[in-house]
């Protein structure tokens, strides 16, 4: 074996193949990574600082921009933290609507993941399908909230607009369609030798280190640990719905893909149940005039399961009409830095964006 010279390689910031810009500084020998260091900050917008300048309500417009592929969990988590501080009840109907929105967001994010995961393995057809079909979910969002990507729909106290029966029917129809389409996706992805060979045994997260490193969400379930905020600390009406939290063994990209594949099914099932069980009633517990709305002093921590894992908001109020401090911690915060730096050594350069896609690294969520 020829000892090759160690080279420094910069992957990014110009499009490392994931949803956002970041840079991984690599020390490589041949095409094997020896050391990886993550550099972030290319998308730093100072969200947490800006929220302190807004009032409690209009801060929520910023939140969905935390992580672009899946904006809704941010809104929900913030809303829940503020509701806890303000002792504000959320009507049951709103809770069901929130669950539906969350799961639709999860689905559209999974479809982006299908495209990204397959795309980074060179399977471009799948991207054309799943991202094209993702528009049907975005159409549903558009009809409900008025926005395609940024919904700004879930806010403290409930949701902004009520759902209609025709919308519910459309959701159900779309679910039927997606359920069928997922088989097509899976045929292209999981039945494909190229994908199998690239995914199995690559990017392994060791089971004993996973929690230590801060792995959450599908990557954690991919090592066989059943952990999901929706069952660990049920929020909204998740405890009234029947769903499975899938796990897989191995901790590699394949295991994570299997988890996501099954979660896609579960999400569809959750949406169907929620639509069926949704009660009539209010959808919004009106907050006072937003300019004068004062949230009682206190600190609250709320967390939600997003497609990448748990998202937590730490919200501090000092009893004024503006948040004193809002700290958001997304799953990518650990996945994109600690975990990535730990598992990249020994991997192929060509697999890096494959691994990052599978971990759900989302740079805007890291630096905010």
């Amino acid at each position: 074996m020829i000892r090759e010279k160690e080279t420094t390689l910069y992957l990014g910031p110009q499009h490392p193949g994931i949803t956002g810009n970041m840079m991984v500084k690599l020390k490589v020998q041949g095409d094997t990574v020896v050391k990886a260091t993550t550099h972030v900050g290319y998308l730093h917008r100072a969200f947490e600082k800006l929220i302190e300048q807004r009032n409690w309500l209009n801060a929520f417009t910023l939140l969905c921009r935390f992580c672009v592929p899946e904006p809704d969990p941010m809104e929900l988590t913030y809303a829940r933290a503020v509701e806890e501080l303000d002792n504000r009840e959320v009507p049951e109907r709103a809770q069901y609507i929130r669950v539906i929105v969350m799961e639709l967001a999860r689905l559209q994010s999974f479809m982006l993941w299908y495209a990204g995961q397959a795309g980074s393995a060179g399977l471009y057809t799948l991207g054309q399908w799943s991202v094209g079909d993702r528009n049907y979910i975005l159409d549903l969002f558009e009809e409900l909230t008025g926005g395609r990507i940024y919904h700004m729909y879930i806010w403290p106290g409930g949701v902004r607009r009520d759902v209609t029966d025709t919308w519910k029917d459309k959701v159900l129809k779309t679910m039927d369609y997606l359920e069928k389409r997922q088989d097509d996706y899976n045929q292209l992805m999981f039945d494909n030798t190229i994908f199998q060979k690239r995914a199995k045994g690559v990017g392994i997260v060791p089971k004993d280190k996973a929690i230590e490193w801060g792995v959450v969400g599908p990557p954690l379930r991919g090592v066989g640990i059943k952990s999901d905020v929706r069952i660990d600390e049920p929020y909204e009406v998740y405890d009234k719905l029947d769903f499975e939290v899938p796990t897989a063994e191995g901790g590699d990209i394949w295991a994570r893909a299997l988890v996501r594949k099954e979660e896609f099914r579960q999400s569809i099932s959750i949406i169907r149940q929620a639509i069926e069980k949704m009660p009539k009633g209010d959808y919004y517990n009106k907050v006072p005039n937003p300019m004068k709305w004062v949230v009682p002093e206190g600190q609250a921590w709320a967390k939600t399961e997003s497609v990448r894992g748990e998202i937590g908001f730490y919200v501090v109020s000092n009893g004024t009409n503006k948040p004193y401090r809002v700290h958001a911690k997304g799953a990518a915060y650990t996945h994109g830095v600690t975990v990535l730096e730990k598992i990249l050594p020994g991997q192929n350069i060509a697999d890096i964006s494959f691994i990052m896609n599978s971990l759900g690294v989302c740079p805007p969520e890291i630096e905010r």
């Binding site: 499009h15 956002g20 290319y42 998308l43 917008r45 100072a46 300048q53 672009v68 991202v131 395609r148």
Partner: protein, 181 residues
């Protein structure tokens, strides 16, 4: 060879026609607006019909899409990318935040007006712009190219001093190679 005006016009026409039909977009998603690019490129909106497709490196790209806010850290890289691109090159500013700061107008880390740092041919409004908007922006750019009005690179070259001053105002540690052609 060709020195009378009329034949120059014909050559220009053909040249512009060819240019507008194949716009290779630098794949550099600088902000959240990049999330609508996959949708624009895939089956429902299928931007490849217009000759719009991605290019992996600046040397091969014609269009630089600034899809949203630019953090100062990114601005430095974007300038570098822009300067590496070959002429003719075009820049599209995408979303409110490239126009006047958008929702990050009071952020200490994002610039407000893109055309202060690199010349911009077309601005697309929206936060974020829908795929239809994006396509309209490209169509507008194509019109400009056909009319011969899009001369982004020339504008930059001629006003380099002014752009440099603005850029250096923001980027404190200017360690970049000089712009040469």
């Amino acid at each position: 060879m060709i020195n009378d005006k009329d034949s120059q016009k014909i050559v220009d026409y053909i040249q512009n026609f060819a240019r507008k039909q194949s716009l290779f977009v630098m794949a550099y998603g600088t902000g959240c607006g990049a999330i609508e690019i996959p949708a624009t490129m895939t089956s429902r909106y299928d931007a490849e019909r217009f000759g719009i497709r991605g290019a992996a490196t600046p040397r091969q790209a014609d269009v630089l899409l600034i899809t949203g806010y630019l953090a100062t850290k990114t601005l430095k890289r974007v300038i570098r990318v822009y300067e590496q691109m070959q002429e003719p090159k075009y820049v599209i500013g995408f979303g409110s935040c490239t126009i006047n700061g958008g929702m990050y107008f009071d952020s200490y880390n994002t610039i407000n007006a893109l055309e202060q740092y690199i010349p911009v041919d077309v601005y697309i409004n929206g936060c974020m712009p829908r795929p239809e908007s994006v396509i309209s922006g490209f169509v507008k750019l194509q019109e400009l190219i056909q009319q011969g009005k899009a001369d982004n690179g020339k504008k930059y070259r001629e006003n380099l001093e002014w752009y440099r001053t603005n850029q250096k105002k923001i980027i404190k540690n200017w360690k970049m190679p000089d712009y040469n052609w």
